[in-house]
Symmetry: C2
Subunit: 202 residues, 2 copies
């Protein structure tokens, strides 16, 4: 079990960066230096500046509307199996709302804020250790929209990768299958609608 | 003070309708017969079936992404002042997610679910008494995105209408001004981005 960090005591995150300062001045490509275990309760963490801090339920509601779980599978000849699996969680917003992305980044304790397209910015979270914390959050506080079905596939991919299953032919094939079931019916890849199990193809 | 109901004891809402049953079978145009005071806490109300019930923070997060506050001002010769002010709160979703609209309607205790455009459905809340409860919710649990600035205008319009200010020339002019400041920068009226105070025109 490699996710021992997830089972450790919950600790308060240091603010790391001011929630609002400099948010509009450009991309923030650095990640926080010391990402720690997420505050999974619905109480905003930290006694200071609670007005700026997000609750888990707010985050889940916002992600139900605006979040995207995605698994890329890219040709990578340098890898033994020839393919790289690149899971990613992102939230895209108009640049006017970059402050909310910054608050989300503060909530998670990690992530990169960068330009998406045109006047949109995105918070992007990659990396197995970080994504496994994201998965734990949405397992504790389930999504309400049909995005849940994409998340379920995504979570299974993360679990498999934590066991290195993506480095085997059989595992990779299963991940391909899971990835193909995500974000179906998306007219806009930034705002995917997963097909609800049992609904007609759309 | 006409909003005494808002200050009364919090009461449990009856389920009124099953959250998931029949959601996909067609429009639900009826409103709940006995809308009562909103549960403003972040604890889902009702001991039964908590899994289906929404928390206030989830609702605020989801509305930050997906909600729309709108004030229509329509020519109405039958009214003394010649214009009707029609405020409205709505959440639009792909029809695959009509179950979430139904849960939102259950959360609020009122609202109509109907077709929006094409494959989209909307939860629409009108009526001063109901909208004043919606306003009270988002005052207690503030929005995080720049949609907040549209909400602030909307809330002021509702306050004015509760005092019948919309029936005076002066009040109507002020409401026109507030309405014009809402949902600026919207490329899609279903997904408006309010211009942030102080940001450049966009």
């Amino acid at each position: 079990m490699r996710v021992t960090a997830l089972n450790g005591p919950k600790v308060q995150r240091e603010p790391g960066l001011s929630a609002m300062t400099g948010a509009a001045s450009g991309c923030m490509l650095e990640t926080l230096k010391d990402p720690v275990v997420l505050n999974m309760s619905d109480k905003p963490s930290g006694a200071d500046n609670q007005q700026e801090r997000l609750s888990a339920n707010w985050v889940v509601g916002f992600v139900d509307g605006e979040g995207c779980f995605f698994v890329g599978i890219n040709r990578q000849p340098s890898m033994k199996i020839g393919w790289q699996v690149l899971p990613e969680f992102r939230v895209v917003q108009h640049q006017r709302d970059v402050a909310v992305l910054t608050q989300l980044r503060q909530f998670f304790g990690f992530g990169q804020i960068t330009r998406n397209h045109g006047d949109r910015k995105e918070l992007r979270i990659r990396g197995l250790r970080q994504l496994s914390q994201v998965v734990a959050l949405f397992r504790k506080h389930p999504l309400r929209t049909v995005k849940r079905s994409s998340f379920d596939c995504f979570a299974e991919v993360i679990d498999m990768m934590m066991r290195d299953d993506h480095l085997t032919e059989e595992g990779l094939e299963k991940i391909r299958n899971l990835a193909s079931r995500m974000n179906r019916g998306a007219q806009n890849p930034q705002r995917p609608y997963a097909r609800h199990p049992g609904s007609s193809p759309g």
